[in-house]
């Protein structure tokens, strides 16, 4: 029995990733990336991880994809489209490398016992995740907060323009 829900989510995820890399216009690529991230979020739902799925939609689709779209639109359009297509040997090399890695990992997974593993019924609750984050991994959470603050300060510093620059 083929699970059509899973197949559809898989198609959205992998197809969105391909569109993100291969679309001619980089704006469409950004939208494809958002679709792929949304597909991953739906796979998280399928895996009984609704909290992570909602977090993924909020942070990735809501923040990162929109940030990328704004960056693409802020900078002049024709410069982004100037991307020279890769030479044929490079494309072939990239496709072969990606295919080799994907096929090797897939074959390893399919031929192992992993295809016999069925879902564990007792899924983690919000309370368990919250307890893990706030007790055992509270130091990680605080370091992560510092990293986020540092990255925001860094991004603001990088993108600051000097107003007194003549003719700018």
């Amino acid at each position: 029995m083929v699970d059509f829900v899973f197949l559809g989510m898989m198609a959205v995820t992998v197809g969105g990733a391909l569109v993100a890399l291969e679309a001619e216009e980089i704006v469409y690529g950004a939208i494809g990336l958002a679709g792929s991230l949304f597909g991953v979020a739906s796979l998280f739902f399928l895996l009984d991880a609704p909290y992570v799925a909602v977090f993924q939609v909020t942070v990735y689709v809501g923040a990162v994809a929109v940030l990328i779209l704004f960056t693409v639109m802020l900078v002049r359009q024709e410069k982004w489209a100037k991307e020279l297509p890769a030479t044929a040997p490079t494309r072939l090399l990239g496709a072969l490398t990606g295919l080799a890695v994907a096929i090797a990992l897939s074959l390893a997974a399919v031929s192992s016992d992993l295809s016999n593993v069925t879902a564990y019924t007792n899924t983690a609750t919000f309370i368990q995740i919250g307890q893990l984050i706030s007790t055992q991994y509270s130091s990680v959470l605080e370091v992560l907060a510092l990293v986020l603050a540092a990255s925001i300060v860094g991004a603001l510093t990088l993108s600051r323009t000097d107003k007194e620059e003549p003719g700018a």
Binding site: G29, L33, V40, I68, V72, L99, V101, V117, L158
Partner: protein
């Protein structure tokens, strides 16, 4: 009925697509896309393995929120990374009028 191997196959496909993008693309934004796709492949693996193969603590209690916890951290980290990369791309464009990474050679020794 989906098994753990199906999710690992999807994750491997995403990872392969990310590698293809990293090798062939020269636009800085496309490289960011490729990296985000690979990060998502890793996150998917985390969630799948934590759902299908829970981890038993020495005390005897079974915990399967561990993978979800790590993925929450990973998503937050990826968001910070994307913000910094986008700022760097905007600065590079402002300095060089270009986002082709093979043209950005001012740091080359």
């Amino acid at each position: 009925m989906t098994s753990l191997a199906d999710f690992v196959v999807v994750s491997a496909a995403l990872f392969g697509i990310g590698i293809y993008g990293l090798v062939t693309k020269r636009n800085a934004l496309r490289l960011l896309f490729a990296v985000e796709i690979m990060v998502n492949a890793a996150n998917l693996n985390f969630i799948a393995f934590s759902e299908y193969a829970p981890y038993a603590q020495p005390g005897g209690t079974v915990v399967n929120g561990l993978g979800q916890t790590f993925v929450l951290f990973s998503i937050a980290l990826a968001a910070a990374e994307a913000a910094v990369i986008l700022a760097i791309i905007v600065v590079a464009y402002r300095l060089h009028q270009d986002v082709d990474v093979s043209e950005l050679k001012s740091l080359e020794g």
